[in-house]
Every structure is written in structure tokens, then in C-alpha cells.
Point group: C2
Chain length 596, copies 2
């Protein structure tokens, strides 16, 4: 069964309690967003997710998208849900007030994104890509393009896309072939084919604004010859409403493993009119503006699906009776005990829980930095925050989505045979979550970004934004009590991370393949240390709150219990990562290519 209630208590915890001392300081620009206000937003979003988006999640998966005579149809209920979403102002949540947005902090916005994707990730893609596109337009487009497009995109009247991939190139965009020919009036004619375009076409809005990577006629080869263009499905007329068709068509929609209610389109551009966004041949920069925003969001998608999967598994583990507890019957009134009494079921539920809570805590930490990067009045803080965001973006993307998929699969496993049946709703989570490990740069690419770009950047400056708070926390909390073991565990894992970093820096300098061979394990190791840091902090805060007394004891006790499980059962993954990194590239690259 699909059940989804946004985990509001934990969301309030990460938002208002966990990261208050994160060094990003106060942000007066966001002072109006008091806990009371953000709480009201979260509650309303939770209601919307549960009441509007969840009910069309499984039906959307069954029905999928269809293309009739070139028109893409979303599944039943999606048009109505999108209208309600737009009318509720949700598309404008995090956008700049200059364009009609509400300017909500990213810390809150990312929690709302988690809810949307927890209830219905396929739905989330329609407004989600728009957000990336508006960010790129805001940052790089000429003013008149902003005026013409941003208000309608922020209001949700129109949606946006990112048209990067072509059939023969995804990761290596240097190979792309779509052409842009300049016209006398300053516009360009765009011609080419793009694949895997999320929300490339649909029936939710009357116009769709494509951001398209293409080559100018005189462009240098490779990634240095790529430019970004804004290409609307319909050219706005003088009154700003969609007018003439612009040679943009959806040739096909993909048949996918999951995410079926999201239309993934093959888009053809035939002499379509477009306008340059940013400087000629600087498309990759503008593209990365979208991409980095999207990468954090994709991580949050993985977490959202993971939370939904966890809730479904808990529901089933309480409902399903099978066998008796090894410590004696717990429900003698029933023919058997609910399976939640069994240790191996607990193992699965606790693992899911620890992944979700750990990722949520790390995610909010990064969101705080995104806000500080944008809004801090202190240039040093802005730089510090930007460094941290740059460092953690690939970690959030890859770690959260790996764990989101693992969590979804643990939910399937908790259901046993019933989990393999579509009616259960949980196998959909596994199929839906699977894409998050791939799109916006595969998780392998994220790891290479971390190790190849982020670690060496500015002589390791980015990494220090992470190492400093972790080592400070370890120094300050060596102490006593239940926290002691956690800090010891964290210290050990952090030591492994420091050693690994040194090893990669040393070996990678001489041989970049050595760094690449360590990348995936290093990202996992760093991500686990980040989770461990957040869990130890959370346990410390929870212990303090419990000592104070108050009526929320159950929440804080559960937080400590989940943290204890994390240190016992999840953090040990770091030892395998460390040994794998230590092994180097030799055996990874040792097999002759012909021998595979």
C-alpha cells in the first residue's frame, strides 16, 4: 500500500534545531520566514502531497503517458493536480520575488520538494525541471528574455525543460550536434534532436520553454563550442500569450522502467527560433547553473521516494502477521505476531530509517549553505557557503539516490512476495527511484566530479569547509555518556576519510586514473562521515532536550535510537570503502580489455 505522511517532526528538527551552529550565520534577508511561517508552509505542503499527489501516484504508474497524434497526454488526474499545484502557489515557492516568486529559503523549499517526490516523483518532474530552467534564465539571460518568460514560468503558467542529451551523447556533451544559425534579428534557428527530455511535452500547460544546448556555425569543437538557447514551444505574440508554433515537436515518448507518469520525450527542433542565453560558446557554464541546482534536487527525490518506501514498509510490518517473536509471543490474541517483531525485519526498517534521517539532515545542512551563498551579507560567508555547496552537490546527488534505491528495495523485501506484485505499490518505488542514480549525471560521474574537480579545486579549500566542522565537533565532544561511542565511531571514520584524501591527492597527482579508481568509494565514505556527523550532533541535541524534559521525549529518544543504529550498523560500511580506496587502480584496470 502506498501511504505517505510527510515526516514533519523530523523536518522541523533538521530545519530549526540541528544546524543552528553551522557557521553560516544569520540571514537577515530571510528573517521574515519565522518557524511559525515555515511550519505553516510545511503543513500545507504535507496536506497537498497526501491529498492531491499521493492518490494519483500508482494510477499514474499504471496508465503512464501516451502520445496521440503528436500530443503528449499525462495520466488521469495530472492536469487537475497541476492546476491545483499552480493555484496553490507551489511553483513560485523558492523563486525570486522579482519574478513573482515567494523567495522562500532553500531549507524549506527542499523539504517541500522531498514531500512532492515522496508522494509522486513523476509529478515532481514537471515543476522540478522548470525550477532548473528559471534558475539558468535568471542567472544568464538578457533582461528582455527574463521579462518575457520568467513571470509565466514562476507562476507555473508555462513549464521549462533542459535539452542536453542527444542519442549519441549524454555525459560527453562535447559530441553534440544540434545546430544554431544566427539570424539578422538577433535570434537563432535551432535544428537538431534531443532525447531523454523530461517534461519535453505534455498537456499540463499551454506553453513549454526549452533550454537547448547547440553549436554555433563557427563554434570550436568539443565542450568549448556549446551555447545555450531558449526555445519556446510556441512563440509568444505581442500580448505575451503563446502564438505561432515554433517547429518544436515530440517525436516519441520513452518506455521506461519507472517514472511512467513523467513524459520523457524525444524532441525535434526544426528551424526553431531561439535566443541565446549567456555568452556564445559558454553554454556549459549556464548549463551547470541548472545542473547543480537540479543535482541537489535529484538527491532529494531519492530521499523522498525512500521515505515513502519506509512508511509503506512500516505499515506492512505492523499489518502482516507471520511467525512468533523469538522472545515469546507478542500478540497472543492473533494467530501470529506482526513481522515487525522479527530482528531481520527490524534490521531492514532501521536501515531505511537511518538512511532517510541521515540524508535529510545532510540535505538540510547543504540547503542552509545554498541560502547563505545567496543571502549572506558577509562576502566571506558567501564564499565559504559556495565552497561547501560545490563540494557537497555530487555527494547529495549520489549518496541520497543510492540509498533511496536501496531503501525502496528494502521495502520490497519487507513485503516479501507481495512486494513484487504491482498492486502493493512498493515495487513502483524501486523502479521510480532507479532513475535518480542515473539522470543529471550518473552517480559515477558525481564521484568523478567530487574527486577530480572538487577536491583539487583551490588547493583543497572546498574540502576544508567540511573537515573543519567535523573535526571541531569531534574535539569538543570526546566526553562521556552515550555520545562517547558515537564520537569514537565518527572519529575513526573521519580518520579513514583523511587518510583516503591524502592518498588520493598523492596518487592522483601523478596518475589521474588512480583518483578515478577511488572515486565511488571516496564519495560514499565522505557521505557516511557527513551522515555520522549529523547523527552525532542530533543525538547530542536530543540528549540535551531529554535532560530538559518536555513533551517531545518520544521523538528525541527515537532520534538517539536511530543514531545508535547508524553507528552500529551503517557507518561500518566506511571500513570497506577505505580498504577499496587503499587498493588503488591496479586490479581495477588490470584485466586486458579484450578479455572481458
Amino acid at each position: 500500500m502506498q501511504v505517505y505522511d510527510a515526516p514533519l517532526r523530523d523536518m522541523r528538527f533538521v530545519l530549526n534545531e540541528l544546524h543552528q551552529d553551522d557557521g553560516f550565520g544569520d540571514l537577515p534577508a530571510l528573517a521574515e520566514f519565522t518557524p511559525d511561517l515555515t511550519d505553516a508552509v510545511l503543513e500545507e505542503a504535507a496536506r497537498f502531497a497526501r491529498e492531491v499527489l499521493l492518490p494519483i501516484n500508482r494510477s499514474g504508474d499504471e496508465e503512464g503517458c501516451h502520445i496521440d497524434n503528436g500530443i503528449v497526454r499525462t495520466p488521469a488526474g495530472f492536469r487537475e493536480a497541476y492546476s491545483a499545484f499552480r493555484e496553490g502557489g507551489w511553483t513560485a515557492l523558492a523563486a525570486d520575488p522579482e519574478w513573482g516568486g515567494q523567495g522562500l529559503p532553500e531549507t524549506v523549499n527542499k523539504l517541500v520538494e522531498e514531500m512532492i517526490c515522496g508522494a509522486n516523483i513523476s509529478f515532481g518532474l514537471y515543476p522540478g525541471l522548470t525550477h532548473g530552467a528559471t534558475t539558468a534564465i535568471e542567472s544568464h539571460a538578457a533582461d528582455e528574455l527574463k521579462q518575457a518568460y520568467l513571470p509565466k514560468m514562476v507562476s507555473g503558467e508555462w513549464t521549462g525543460t533542459m535539452c542536453l542529451t542527444e542519442a549519441h551523447c549524454g555525459t560527453d556533451l562535447g559530441l553534440l550536434r544540434t545546430k544554431a544559425v544566427p539570424q539578422a534579428n538577433g535570434s537563432y534557428r535551432i535544428t537538431g534532436s534531443k532525447i531523454f527530455i523530461s517534461a519535453g511535452d505534455h498537456d499540463l500547460t499551454e506553453n513549454i520553454i526549452h533550454l537547448v544546448l547547440a553549436r554555433l556555425p563557427d563554434a570550436p569543437r568539443g565542450v568549448k563550442g556549446i551555447s545555450l538557447f531558449l526555445v519556446p514551444k510556441y512563440l509568444p505574440g505581442a500580448d505575451g500569450t503563446p502564438g505561432q508554433a515554433n517547429g518544436v515537436s515530440c517525436a516519441n515518448i520513452e518506455h521506461k522502467m519507472g517514472l511512467k507518469a513523467s513524459a520523457t520525450c524525444q524532441m525535434n527542433f526544426e528551424d526553431s527560433t531561439g535566443w541565446l542565453v549567456g555568452a556564445p560558446n559558454k553554454g556549459m557554464e549556464a548549463m551547470f547553473t541548472m545542473m547543480n541546482t537540479e543535482r541537489v534536487s535529484v538527491g532529494v527525490q531519492g530521499l523522498g521516494v525512500g521515505e515513502a518506501a519506509y512508511q509503506a514498509a512500516v505499515w506492512y510490518a505492523r499489518e502482516r502477521i507471520q511467525g512468533r517473536s523469538l522472545s515469546g509471543p507478542k500478540r497472543p490474541d492473533l494467530a501470529a505476531d506482526p513481522i515487525i517483531v522479527h530482528p531481520d525485519v527490524r534490521r531492514m526498517l532501521m536501515t531505511m530509517r537511518a538512511y532517510n534521517e541521515g540524508c535529510r539532515a545532510v540535505g538540510n545542512w547543504v540547503s542552509r549553505a545554498i541560502d547563505a551563498e545567496r543571502h549572506s551579507e558577509d562576502a566571506e560567508v558567501r564564499q565559504h557557503a559556495a565552497d561547501f555547496v560545490a563540494l557537497m552537490t555530487p555527494v547529495v546527488k549520489a549518496l541520497f539516490t543510492d540509498y533511496g534505491f536501496e531503501t525502496a528495495n528494502l521495502a520490497v523485501q519487507t513485503y516479501g512476495g507481495h512486494g513484487y506484485i504491482r498492486e502493493s505499490g512498493v515495487e513502483q518505488y524501486a523502479r521510480d527511484a532507479r532513475i535518480t542514480m542515473i539522470y543529471e549525471g550518473t552517480n559515477g560521474i558525481q564521484a568523478l566530479d567530487l574527486v577530480g574537480r572538487k577536491l583539487p579545486a583551490n588547493m583543497g579549500r572546498l574540502l576544508r569547509t567540511f573537515f573543519h566542522p567535523v573535526s571541531a565537533f569531534i574535539e569538543e565532544n570526546g566526553g562521556e555518556g552515550p555520545l562517547k561511542r558515537m564520537v569514537e565511531g565518527l572519529q575513526q571514520a573521519f580518520g579513514a576519510l583523511q587518510l583516503s584524501t591524502a592518498k588520493i591527492a598523492e596518487k592522483g597527482m601523478k596518475d589521474p586514473e588512480e583518483a578515478a579508481a577511488a572515486a565511488t568509494d571516496y564519495l560514499r565514505l565522505l557521505g557516511l562521515v557527513a551522515m555520522g556527523y549529523c547523527f552525532a550532533k542530533a543525538a547530542k541535541i536530543a540528549a540535551a532536550k531529554l535532560a530538559e524534559g518536555g513533551d517531545d521525549a518520544a521523538f528525541y529518544q527515537a532520534k538517539i535510537a536511530t543514531a545508535a543504529f547508524f553507528f552500529d550498523r551503517i557507518l561500518p560500511q566506511t571500513s570497506a570503502c577505505f580498504l577499496a580506496i587503499k587498493a588503488g587502480k591496479k586490479s581495477m584496470m588490470g584485466l586486458d580489455e579484450a578479455a572481458f
Copy 2:
């Protein structure tokens, strides 16, 4: 793309080279199956898999099974393929010659099973379940039932099923409700509903023989009151051909995540005539005869899909060009290098390869024991082999299927976005492999079987059949050369396994929940040590062969390279398992049930 060529060279290696000194001795009963003969069987099976089963694998997934007016239709081509399979004598391969079987060694049969499931796991279920059913009939049924049913099941004229699960009970069969009422003529009237019945109904054969668990009227409660019955779809007439319908109907077929060409049926029995198999109330024993056979086969299914996924990934990694090698362009003639040059792609391919080769080696070791258990002339060897099979059955089932699913997902990841598209064929492997972790007892149940039943059985006697050869190998091969590091790695992992075993024995004696809390990590740890042992042995043999010279150097070099990767990158998983086991149950069971 789906490509599948049975890995014949590696199959011959595990069959004829790797396990010659395994202590199970010669089996004169199987002497006729010379390497020449088994080689011919393997080659012919490989051809059948590639030419007949592979071409209908993806189309079968797309079309699925359908139920029309109560008649289950398999996808296009399945009827023809099954006829060819039957005519080729494949259904009779491992069956007893007494019933028309060819009596092939299990070592060879399991390799053929791997091929069938590598090419088309959905197809494999139709003859696969029949094999389990005939085993139970052979072992437990009265002679006249054997005479009436076995020849036709062995010849593949009729197929068989295992009807265990009901909607409210799978793992806990003690709860089952299907009733069997004795009749004056010695038969029984069976009434009840079963779910998840693989090959429960289909259009491949004219009769289907169900083995049904049910309760006699006076049966004790729980698992001690379950009996096994043979219930044909059609009652054979005097001439042995299917006659009167027997009240057996397929109410529905399940809509599943994958395995779509295999009909998973809800079966209704309404006053169906059946015959007791084995003693009254001893159905669980007979059921476990089927189940244990099937569990090893399910492990092999996971491996089969894993091998197919690996081959697809290798094909793609050579075909797809993207980016340049970090050590300089490898294919300057192309616009980019094939992605197989990239370390992170190598990591995925080598991981898949190491899982497949490691599982194949362990699987063949267990198959040798199955043959020895059946055919050895020495009662001590038979007991020794039976102990080893009992110990390793849950390990094979859970380890191979966990890794099979992981391998399928690594193939999807290698394909990037294209892997998420159904046309690529690789996402099907992930969906198909997923069920193998669940059916015939979830992998969590396998772990409990290992830790709760197999470890304590006969004062740990079963485990010694595994510990002895591993410790002997370590002692004898401490030496020099490339093997040295492997043996050291094995020794360390084996030490962790020994410590974990002692800890579980000690704690589990006082508190069975402690053993259960360690179960999944313990199974993984034992499985990895088994793989490590096989890899170290394989590397030793390969080194000796290379020293001898000969024309197969590429194979032996690749074997050593894969073994080296296993010890560098896979075996370190044991350190995480060890730490998790050491942590005990406290944090796993610490969260209050209401707090989830």
C-alpha cells in the same frame, strides 16, 4: 541489447579443473559422464539458450502472460520453445533414468540451468518448478503415483508446481487453511486457494501436476498439521492421458515487477481430487525436499541473470563512446573513447565479473556435494556431502540472488540513461532478478535458516565441512608470489568468520534474537569467504597452468586478474559485516515499536 553466450570456458573450468580435490572422491555412478560428453551437453545447451530462448526473452517481457476466459496464454514463441526444449530432452536432463531421465550430474545440470535463466529466466520457471515437484514425488510418493506421473513429468509432457503460499501466509505456513478431506477410495478432496503459483496454469502442456500443502480434518495446529497432496489439473484416464477436469482453476494471474512471461497464478481448488504424498501431517518434510532443491536453483537463476547482465554491459561499454581515457586517447580514430576505458566503468564491469565467477565457482562446489550425497558409495562421504549441501543451500540462494540483482543494476548503471529505457533490455534484468531475492524463502529467511538451524545442527558439524577445507587451504598456501596476498586476505576474512561464529554461538545460546540479529551479515560473510576460497584456489590453479604453458593463457591470466580484483575490492565487504555482527541486537531492537 540482450546478448547471451553461455560462459563455456569458465563453466568448464569450474567443472573440470577447480574442485578436483574437494574431498567428495570419485563417483563411479557418474563415470560415464566424461568431460567430452558433458562438454557436448554444455555446448548444445548454450546453443539452445542463445538461439531459442534468448530471442523471446524481451518480447516475452513486453507481452507478458494473459488470461482469457480462464485460460492462461504464454507470450508468443513460448509454446514453440517449450516443445523444442522437450523434444531436445532438456526436461529429462537431471532426472532419474528409472523415470526416463538422463541422470546427468548435478554439476552439469546446474550449469545448464544457469544458461536457461541467463537467456530467459521466465521460461526457466516452467520446467524449473517441475524439477522440484518430481523430486518430491520421487522421494515421498507411493509407487503407483510415481508410475502414473513421473514419466510424463520427466519427459516434459506435463509440468509441475509447488502450491504452498496462501494470501495470508507465506513464510509462516503453519497458518495455512486449504483443506483435504479423505475419501473412501484412498484419495482426498482438496479445497482452498493458493497464491503466487509459478506456472500454475499455462498453455505449454496438456496437464499440470500440482503439489499442494493442505490440512487433514484432524490435523494438529501449525506446521505439524500440514500434509502434501498431488493434485492434477486433469485426472488421468485409464490410458494415462488427461481426462476429466479436476476442479482446479486459475482465478487470476499476478501483475508483477518482472518475470512477466512466467505465469504467476492464483489457483483455486474446489473439491479437487488429490493423493497424499508422504505421510499424513509430514507435508513440511516433503515440501522441504522440493524447497531445498529449488533454493539452490534459485541461486543459480540469480547468477544466470547476472551473467547475462554482465555480457550486456560489456557489449555496451565497448560500443558506447563518451569522453577520453584519463591516460590519453585510446581510440583517436573515433570522436571519443569507448567507455570501457574509464576506471569507474571498469569498477562496475569487474565487480559484476567477480560476482559471477565467484558464485559460479561456489555453486559448482555445492553441486559436486549434491552429486556425492546422491551417488557416493561411501556412507561417510554421503553424510559429509549432505552436511555441506545443507549448510550451503541458504548461502547459495541468498548470496547469488543478492549479487545477481546488484549485477543487473550495475549493468543498468553502465548503460546510463539508456539503461532505464525498456528497449535496452537491461532494466528487465533488474526487474527479473529482483524476485529471486524473495521467492523460495526470502533472503532474510535463508539467513535465519543458516544461523538458527544449520549452525547449531549436530553441534556445529555442518559448519566443519566448510571450515576444514578453507583452513587447510590457508595453511598449505601461506607461501609466496601473487597468491600470498590473496591467502592473507582470505585468512583475515576467515578469522572474522570464526570470531563471528563463536560470538553468535555464545550469545545466541542465551538469546535467539542475538543470533537472528546477526543472520544476514553472517550469511554474507560466510558467502564471501566461500568465494574468496574459490578465487584463491582458482588463481593457484591458473598460475600453475600458466607456468606449464599452453594455448589458454588468456583465460588463466583473466582468472588471476579477476581474483585479484575480488580480494582488493569485494572481500573488504567482510569488514563491514564483521563490525555489524559484533554490534549485536541492542540498537537493532532498541527503537520502541510505536516510534516507527
